[in-house]
């Protein structure tokens, strides 16, 4: 193991802010199991840009991996995740406050892949970006930004560094952790292709420094075998919540602080989620597009917390049944992690490319701190990784009856990354994230009006 040491690099800079959260990651040892379902409801919007449009019709027979949603270059392609018959194409609720066109497919139980599936021929940057597009990739860490768009801008900006984000600082979630163990081969294949065709000069795999992490020997050995082993490094960071946020990660690994509005390509780098990398590595080998993903199912109300691989569009209810159902009456059901995930009111929602966790909390865990007045302790500002003052923004966005846009701009409300550190620490139990979200959107809207819409996040800004 004398060479293994050279693989590890130290972070170059410390991050201010953030919080120490009990990580509750009980599913480290759970090797993801696949589940198959009788029916999938596949939303045509699983990424953060425009929704795709359906290119199949009700009654059509589809095979697994068949393209069913497409709307050109601005979206991520959507593929059938089971083989069977399309029974419904209609607008459905995919989250408590979100609707999208969904394609419902009744499975024929055969789980047959489309016959024409073949590994892509990648010869240059263009064909690589095409391959990413055909794989239907969107950031699987939670942002859901179509990967081919990101890759193209990075290629044009001639970025030098590729960062594989395996930090996963959200408690409970162990998806990326498992990916490093179970799909190391796919991850490195993806990295090799990106080095070869996009021209990255250095690859940093960032992960949390956890004692439990002894078993990625396979990943390390795979790196050793790679023709690019000299430029692929692993950086382990001290566990602290919000380290995995893109800007924080770039600061820790490269020492560059990207202000609000700047992209990783401005720091000559690209940040890619581990699961996304693994999915692309798999596509390069097999030609199978992204039709399923690993999800951590956990929380105090879940009987047997586990990692599972679910077809996209599988309903939460099916997944919870697969892990043995509820152990206690759930008082909160969360899609994503407990810090940034969204609470949902039913198990009828489908999982998407960005669903990394399904958490169910029993009564005790779901209890909310009673909200009292702000005592101006300043803890929210202390833990804010973006160095803004959440309590002031919350007041400007909610307290005055009419939100004060100028004040929100002066307070840099738009810099908020919604990491929830402030509301986590707040002793008064104030739902700061609500105010920050409103403030952020108001500023974005005001800026779009003032300086012409730059086209970013048009859909999400509905106020």
């Amino acid at each position: 193991m004398k060479t293994a040491k050279d693989i590890f690099l130290k972070p170059v800079s410390r991050i201010k802010g953030g919080v120490l959260v009990k990580d509750n990651k009980t599913t480290f040892d759970s090797v993801p199991k696949s589940l198959s379902v009788s029916r999938v409801v596949i939303p045509l919007l699983q990424h953060c840009t425009k929704p795709a449009s359906a290119i199949v019709a009700v009654g059509d027979k589809v095979k697994k991996g068949q393209l069913i949603g497409d709307a050109g270059d601005a979206t991520a392609r959507i593929h059938a995740s089971v083989s069977g018959t399309v029974t419904d194409i209609s607008v459905r609720k995919i989250a408590p406050k979100e609707k999208a066109v969904c394609v419902t497919i009744e499975s024929d139980g055969n789980d047959e892949w489309l016959e024409t599936i073949a590994p892509p021929t990648v010869t240059d940057a263009e064909s690589l970006i095409d391959a990413v597009f055909n794989a239907g990739l969107a950031g699987m860490g939670g942002a859901g930004f179509p990967t081919h768009i990101k890759l193209r801008s990075v290629y044009e900006a001639k970025a030098k560094t590729l960062i594989i984000n395996s930090i996963e600082c959200e408690p409970y979630i162990t998806v990326d952790y498992r990916a490093c163990i179970d799909f190391g081969d796919d991850i490195i294949r993806c990295i090799e292709a990106l080095i070869k065709h996009i021209g990255f000069e250095r690859v940093l795999i960032a992960e949390e420094d956890k004692k439990e992490k002894g078993d990625e020997q396979a990943l390390i050995e795979r790196i050793e075998k790679s023709e690019y082993k000299d430029i692929i490094k692993i950086v382990r960071l001290k566990p602290k919540y919000a380290t995995g946020a893109e800007k924080m990660l770039i600061k820790a690994l490269l020492g560059i602080s990207l202000p609000e509005g700047k992209l990783p390509s401005d720091a000559s780098c690209m940040v890619m989620n581990t699961s996304t990398a693994a999915a692309f590595g798999n596509y390069l080998l097999t030609g199978r597009p992204l039709v399923s993903r690993c999800i951590t199912v956990a929380g105090s109300a879940i009987k047997e917390p586990a990692n599972i691989i679910a077809p996209l569009g599988a309903l939460i209810s099916d997944i919870i049944d697969f892990v043995g159902g509820f152990e206690a009456k759930p008082y909160k059901l969360i899609i994503g992690g407990p810090m940034m995930g969204h609470a949902v009111d039913s198990t009828d929602y489908p999982v998407t490319k960005t669903t990394n966790g399904i958490l169910a909390f029993a009564e005790k865990m779901a209890r909310v701190k009673t909200e009292t007045s702000c005592i101006r302790c300043g803890k929210c500002a202390e833990v804010c990784p973006m160095r803004i003052v959440p309590t002031d923004i919350y007041k400007a966005a909610t307290d005055y009856g009419k939100p004060d846009i100028n004040e929100l701009v002066a307070l840099n409300a738009q810099a908020c990354i919604l990491c929830s550190c402030c509301a986590y620490i707040c002793p008064a139990g104030i739902p700061l994230v609500k105010g920050l979200d409103i403030g952020k959107r108001l500023v974005a809207k005001a800026k779009a009006k003032g300086a012409g819409n730059n086209g970013k996040c048009k859909e999400s800004c509905d106020i």
């Binding site: 198959s36 560059i256 399923s292 049944d321 759930p330 810090m339 609470a343 949902v344 160095r387 707040c426």
Partner: protein
């Protein structure tokens, strides 16, 4: 990511019954905004920490000045909590005594009184602090001045004789009459006026030794005398992360520097200024009040330096010999402006307010 083997889900009856159960189960699902887990930190917990941190000070006060200190503390806490309860009740507002902030105020008022104070005055002070200074401004978090401190100033102006009726250390234990001497702060004032503080202090027979000053064997209010007890509370608050070093250190540090100059290098003079009077009590427990002090570290340092300078000016040139309360009250007024001036620079932005160039 794809896995070739797909074990089919069991479709036996147990699976179905689980699903039926789920439907009933889901009636209680709450939709709340993220995060879905919270730290164990609460306002009540913070206040409780402050109360715990004040216990050594109260104990030292009672040891040196007599057990009546406990009675005063009890009266202060009870009347403050009751005042808040009755005010909320009368104004039909939610009951807020559970956050323990009224108890902290009552405790601080008591510690700012001489041990001889008539109890009814303590009640008047507590009601003034809670109703006028705190609740009328909207309650916890909305008052611009520290309630306990403003009550102390109000009482100093209303009952000057009772508020300055100090006892000698351990007078309560002794049966014989003890001659009351000048307070240490008065001696220090005379020392400054004399032009040669160091020789004046050495000559002053009734000026307490450094050890006495540190342990609290001197005249003063219940809570201000024992530097040792106050420092114990300070360490506890630091350890619990309730307060930071910034305000106490910049406050006391400024006083030390100014007094070193004013005392012409006399270390006795500096130590006397720091250890006597309400400086440590004020710097550790009153100036650090969250609501009435700035939020950022830079702001806190400016606040502390301001408090220190005003304290020195009042002590050296004013008609009063003690200025800590007034200094903090004046800086309380500046707090919102200091906050505005010292907003943290957002992540990645450069000094001029422009965006940092990010090219590596």
């Amino acid at each position: 990511m794809e896995n070739a083997k797909n074990p089919a889900i069991s479709e036996d009856k147990s699976a179905n019954s689980v699903q039926d159960n789920n439907k009933d189960n889901l009636s209680e699902l709450k939709l709340t905004v993220s995060p879905h887990i919270k730290s164990s930190l609460t306002t009540k917990g913070v206040m409780l920490d402050v109360i715990i941190a004040l216990i050594p000070t109260l104990a030292a006060g009672a040891w040196i000045q007599g057990p009546r200190a406990f009675l005063i503390a009890f009266t202060g806490v009870l009347s403050s909590v009751l005042a808040e309860y009755l005010y909320n009740r009368f104004m039909k507002k939610p009951n807020t005594i559970g956050d323990l902030s009224a108890a902290v105020t009552g405790m601080l008022i008591a510690l700012n009184m001489p041990v001889t104070i008539p109890l009814w005055m303590v009640v008047v002070g507590s009601v003034f602090a809670i109703v006028i200074v705190k609740q009328l401004f909207g309650g916890l978090g909305r008052n611009f001045a520290n309630p306990a401190l403003t009550a102390r100033i109000f009482m100093l102006l209303s009952f000057p004789a009772a508020m300055n009726n100090f006892v000698m250390p351990f007078q309560w234990k002794s049966s014989s009459e003890i001659v009351t001497t000048a307070t240490p702060l008065y001696t220090l004032y005379e020392a400054f006026k004399s032009g040669s503080p160091d020789s004046f202090l050495t000559a002053a027979k009734d000026f307490p030794s450094l050890t006495s000053l540190f342990l609290g064997q001197m005249q003063g209010t219940i809570g201000e005398i024992s530097a040792l007890a106050l420092l114990l509370g300070f360490i506890y608050l630091l350890y619990r992360g309730v307060i930071r070093l910034s305000i106490p250190v910049s406050f006391v540090g400024t006083v030390a520097v100014v007094m070193l100059i004013a005392g012409k290098g006399s270390l006795n003079f500096v130590a006397g200024q720091i250890l006597s009077g309400g400086l440590l009590l004020g710097a550790i427990f009153m100036a650090t009040d969250y609501t009435t002090s700035p939020m950022s570290i830079k702001g806190k340092i400016i606040f502390g330096i301001g408090c220190g300078l005003i304290t020195c000016f009042i002590r050296l040139f004013g008609s009063l010999h003690e200025g800590v309360s007034y200094a903090i009250l004046i800086m309380n007024i500046f707090s919102p402006f200091i906050d505005r001036l010292t907003r943290p620079r957002p992540f990645g932005q450069t000094k001029k307010g422009g965006k940092a160039h990010a090219k590596a």
